[in-house]
């Protein structure tokens, strides 16, 4: 059977938690979530704490049972044993049993992934190198730092060479160097054509490595696409303005652009001499002729243009905008727990 191009396919997935025996509290962790992840792509799932990201992963792994909807992983029912065989998973806040060394833990999880000891042996050397634990593998895991445990977690997730890797907050608690190393691993996986499902709330990390991103908030999918698509699709993604920084005094600049549509003058660098002063102002770019006119005027007055930039929203701004909007909608809903 030919495999489809979809690695993960989620359709109308809902999950509700119920707590308490008498006064039952109901919490909708996932609400009608639908998304798909293509094979070979690095997919980022973004969202604030409590957005439902980990719940979605748990459903994909069969740890949680959905109340509604369906999901497939590599064309297999999500949570099925055959699907789990093809998944490498790095959970959030991974804890290894204290009696293990790094090596014995790797062997233990390898055996759980139905690998023989010889298969594990053939893979381990390369993995220790990839995750940067070469030479530390015989140490007891209880002496490992958090970063080392995360790397060991990555090693066990990659050990059986799965088609899909699900990483839940892989850089959580790591120092910048550690994060960089994890990103390098992700790049390598990407190069090898592996599908990576990355769950993170660190936007920079997602922006750097992910091909596509989904944003979740309050259990709902709020956006999905490439980073550019997300930004572009956002209503406030781009504004029709150009920011210009030019060298000269404030008076010179105001004089030169007197009949142009400009505003918001501010000092960027207040030099001792005029030649070193840099002023910033915003040009209305609704009409390109206005922009051209401003540039012409500046050059006619021998004012040097130091920098010009058309405005574009960042992923963080898009994220904050989406999440903020979701939260305000959510907070207006009185029946969060009913």
């Amino acid at each position: 059977m030919q495999s489809s191009a979809t690695a993960i396919d989620v359709t109308d997935l809902s999950k509700t938690y119920r707590e308490g025996l008498v006064f039952r509290k109901v919490h909708n962790a996932l609400s009608h979530v639908s998304l798909s992840v293509k094979r070979g792509e690095v997919f980022g799932l973004l969202g604030p704490n409590g957005a439902g990201k980990t719940t979605l992963i748990k459903v994909l792994l069969g740890i949680l049972h959905p109340n509604q909807g369906s999901a497939t992983v590599l064309d297999l029912p999500a949570g099925s044993k055959s699907a789990r065989r093809k998944i490498g998973y790095l959970p959030e806040n991974l804890v290894f049993p204290r009696h293990h060394t790094g090596r014995s833990a790797l062997y233990f999880y390898g055996r759980l992934s139905e690998m023989t000891d010889s298969q594990i042996q053939a893979r381990e050397s390369e993995l220790w190198k990839i995750v940067g634990l070469k030479g530390r593998e015989q140490e007891p895991v209880r002496r490992y730092s958090k970063g080392m445990r995360q790397r060991l977690g990555l090693a066990q997730a990659m050990l059986h060479d799965p088609d899909l890797m699900v990483f839940d907050e892989p850089t959580d608690g790591l120092d910048p160097m550690g994060r960089q190393e994890i990103r390098n691993v992700l790049d390598q996986l990407k190069e090898r054509g592996k599908t990576v499902f990355l769950n993170s709330h660190i936007l920079q990390e997602v922006e750097l490595v992910c091909d596509r991103v989904a944003i979740m908030a309050t259990g709902k999918l709020r956006g999905i696409g490439t980073i550019d698509e997300l930004i572009e699709s956002h209503p406030h993604a781009s504004k029709s303005t150009v920011t210009v920084e030019a060298i000269g005094t404030m008076a010179q600049l105001q004089e030169a652009t007197r009949d142009c549509a400009v505003r918001d003058f501010s000092v960027v660098l207040d030099g001792v001499e005029d030649a070193t002063s840099v002023q910033r102002f915003v040009v209305d770019a609704t009409d390109q002729a206005n922009v051209d006119k401003v540039i012409d005027r500046l050059r006619e007055n021998s004012i040097s243009i130091y920098r010009m930039q058309r405005y574009r929203a960042s992923l963080e701004q898009v994220f904050m905008s989406i999440v903020g909007a979701a939260n305000s909608t959510h907070s207006n809903t009185p029946n969060l727990f009913k």
């Binding site: 938690y17 792994l61 044993k81 959970p91 959030e92 233990f108 759980l112 066990q156 699900v166």
Partner: protein, 772 residues
């Protein structure tokens, strides 16, 4: 299955790398090391033990007499050599009627054993004519052991019939070769039997069954909750594993941890018992899977609680509560069972014309009341004793019996018992003044003369009754008994000195010795009279003797040695032609009474313990085994068969009625009269149930059956520990007649297996539905 093996292996590795396992193994090693020097040793000894003094009261009375210059010269000689402290205690006893413990008497006698000047030719004029004592008396240079032997023999001669003959061998408990306490009044073989059947099960029950089980539950309580540790469980569940199998594997891992400990400890105990006590009981090794199984019962509860609350402390608390509830339910069931089925269990059944009587294990005599459909207590509710008899004497129109204190396994000294005498209500003759009778609630009874010392059995002999004791066989002499009663009435109210004579009939007065005075029948002992009273057969310590009546005397005609291990307890029963001897836990032996030759072993009956054998005039012998099975041996077919009777397999007592029909007491309080030839029941006695019985039958029992019974597994442990050689732990014939409750030793295994299966299924169901 490979991933699950990995989980199992990991659980084991976790145990190996944890300190707890090594601490436990070190603790077991220390216990075994501390136990290892404990052993027992055999040696030559003539020292007195408390069981040697068969009639302490008589000995003390004799010594009191001696202190007043009365009694025999030998008794006076013994008194003279006693230490001053004991003499003063004796005087105090006279003055204050203070009780003297047997231990003080034995201590004092033991001091006498080393006295070089005890022997006095005048005090013991016949001692130097005795084969066993002559060389000791003539030897001037006696060793310490020889002196002890001589003095023991002299003391025995001074108090005939009151002190057991010394075997010269004794057993001591030793620790690293040091004797702990005095000699134990049990042979090495019996001591081993007691250790196997009582001590080891006790250690298993309380040491391993309770102590080690609590430790195991506490230690393993965290295993299942740990599985749910955040960050650990989700990774496990992301692997291609079934969560139910993962749980069951973790459960098995906990069991393996405990198994390692149990194997280590029990193999150590097995080796200790084998090497140090020479008890190579493979039952100890069989206890390994049974203990693991017991642990699984508790662990299945702990595991379910761990799944729900994920907290080891809650696991321990709820498991302890579960154990407590089980113990409470078990105890309620046990005590109801004890007081409804064990204590009042029928020991013997008798029929006097149409009146049916039975004796119970608690020492009561009960009469069947057809109107109220109930067994009614007769002749006083005197509990804690053993009924000996009953014997109905047609001429005397009376039932005779005795109620000596029951001393299981020969422990404790024998108290003198009196022959009791009674009329059934319908047979009572108010004008009878044989004894100073009193009217009882439903009949008349009174105490008669004191029985010969150490009575073993009261049985019908011709038109009277006879008493078997270790000193011989005695015939009851009603006329002599009446004389003693008259003397008692005349001396009543006099001083302590007078009381001695008043309470005891003089030798030969109430009971006439039928066997030779010097002839002693060593225990274990049993007797059977042929239905025609042509012969009397005795079984004594592996030997069967045939006695014939010659006037008032019994003459030993012939004997046969059965080649049984020493001290084998056996039951004997005889018709006029065939005698059956049933050694405890062995195949019954059929003996031709005429030739006194062994005809054959009754292989068809297998190895069993028979507690009662009755014979009818036609030559049919009926045997009742301790497991409640009735066997019938008919000389015509020369075969033992199990007749199809109501109560077969659950019988407590059998007896032939005068018309040759068989009374069978069964199912605790039921009885049936059977015509064995027609195999039909002629009469059924079905007592109506009391409220307590109804509560037990319809309330407690069903609840107990459905309730898990971890404590009942100890019955299985006792069963596997029981050496076939010790089928019934018995020192005396009477021990064979102790109450038995027929239980299936494997029932706790399958009922508790169902409980474990149910709990694990519930756990799996809970886990499969659980969002983790």
């Amino acid at each position: 299955m490979k991933p699950y093996y990995a989980v199992l292996y990991d659980s084991f590795q976790e145990s190996v790398r944890s300190k707890v396992l090594w601490i436990l193994l070190a603790a077991w090693t220390l216990i075994l090391a501390a136990l290892f020097p404990l052993s027992f040793s055999r040696g030559e000894s003539y020292a007195f033990t408390f069981a040697d003094i068969e009639n302490p009261r008589l000995v003390l009375d004799n010594l009191a007499n001696a202190s007043a210059g009365k009694g025999t010269r030998a008794q006076r000689a013994v008194f003279a050599k006693l230490d001053e402290e004991f003499k003063s205690i004796l005087v105090q006893r006279q003055a204050n009627k203070r009780r003297i413990f047997t231990g003080l008497l034995t201590d004092s006698f033991n001091k006498l054993l080393t006295n070089k000047e005890l022997y006095d030719k005048e005090a013991w004029p016949n001692a130097d004519r005795r084969k066993d004592m002559k060389p000791l008396i003539e030897n001037e240079n006696r060793t310490a052991a020889e002196l002890e032997q001589l003095n023991r023999g002299l003391i025995n001669l001074a108090f005939p019939g009151s002190i057991r003959a010394a075997t010269g061998q004794a057993t001591w408990i030793t620790y690293a070769g040091i004797k702990l306490g005095g000699a134990i009044p049990l042979s090495e073989r019996l001591l081993k039997g007691v250790i196997e059947s009582a001590f080891i099960p006790l250690v298993m029950r309380f040491g391993l069954g309770i102590g080690a089980m609590i430790v195991a539950i506490i230690i393993t309580s965290s295993m299942i909750p740990d599985m749910f540790q955040t960050g650990s469980l989700h990774l496990l569940l992301s692997k291609p594993l079934s969560r139910n199998l993962l749980f069951l594997t973790k459960f098995l891992g906990g069991c393996i941890f405990v198994a390692v400990n149990i194997i280590y400890l029990l193999v150590g105990l097995y080796l200790y018992a084998g090497i140090r006590l020479d008890i190579w009981n493979t039952g100890i090794l069989w206890c390994i899977p049974i203990f693991i199984f017991t642990f699984m019962i508790f662990y299945s509860v702990s595991a379910l609680v761990g799944l729900i609350w994920k907290n080891p402390i809650i696991c321990v608390v709820i498991t302890a509560l579960f154990a407590g509830i089980c113990v409470c339910v078990g105890l309620i069931h046990f005590y109801f069972d004890l007081f409804l089925h064990v204590v009042p269990q029928t020991q013997r059944i008798y029929a006097v014309n149409d009146t049916v009587l039975l004796t119970t294990q608690q020492g009561r005599v009960q009469i069947w009341d057809d109107q109220s459909k109930a067994w009614k207590s007769a002749y006083g509710d005197v509990d804690g004793q053993k009924v000996m008899g009953l014997v109905w004497l047609e001429n005397e129109k009376a039932i005779y019996f005795a109620r000596p204190r029951f001393n299981p396994f020969g422990m404790g000294g024998n108290q003198n018992a009196k022959l009791e005498f009674a009329r059934t209500p319908e047979l009572a003759d108010p004008s009878d003044k044989t004894f100073s009778s009193k009217i009882w609630e439903d009949s008349r009874m009174d105490s008669g003369p004191e029985l010969p010392s150490d009575p073993i059995q009261i049985f019908r002999w011709k038109d009277s009754l006879a008493i078997l004791s270790e000193s011989g066989v005695f015939r009851f002499n009603p006329a002599g008994a009446a004389q003693a009663e008259e003397r008692k009435a005349a001396l009543g109210g006099l001083s302590w000195l007078g009381n001695i004579g008043a309470t005891s009939a003089l030798p030969g007065e109430a009971f006439v010795q039928m066997t030779d005075k010097n002839w002693k029948l060593p225990k274990p002992l049993d007797v059977a009279a042929s239905p025609s009273f042509q012969y009397l057969l005795t079984y004594s310590n592996g030997k069967v003797c045939r006695w014939k009546s010659d006037g008032d005397k019994l003459i030993q005609e012939t004997e046969i040695e059965l080649e049984l291990p020493g001290e084998t307890v056996a039951s004997i029963g005889t018709s006029d032609k065939n005698c059956i001897v049933c050694p405890n836990g062995m195949k019954p032996i059929l003996i031709d009474v005429e030739t006194m030759q062994i005809r054959r072993k009754l292989d068809e009956m297998g190895e069993l313990t028979v507690k009662q054998i009755v014979a009818d005039s036609s030559g049919c012998l009926v045997l009742l085994s301790t497991d409640g099975t009735i066997w019938k041996y008919e000389p015509g077919t020369d075969k033992a068969t199990q007749p199809s009777l109501v109560g077969q397999g659950n019988a407590h007592a059998v007896s032939f009625a005068s018309d040759g029909q068989l009374w069978v007491a069964h199912s605790f309080k039921k009885a049936d009269l059977w015509d064995l030839a027609a195999n039909t029941s002629k009469r059924s006695l079905r007592p109506s149930s009391s409220i307590a019985e109804l509560i037990f039958t319809y309330g407690i029992s069903p609840f107990y059956e459905v309730n898990p019974k971890p404590a009942a597994v100890y019955d299985t442990i006792s069963y596997v520990l029981e050496n076939p050689k010790n089928k019934t732990l018995a020192v005396n014939r009477a021990d064979l007649e102790a109450a038995t409750i027929k239980t299936d030793p494997w029932k706790p295994i399958w009922t508790n297996s169902l409980f474990i299966a149910a709990l694990l299924t519930l756990s799996c169901w809970y886990l499969s539905r659980q969002d983790l």
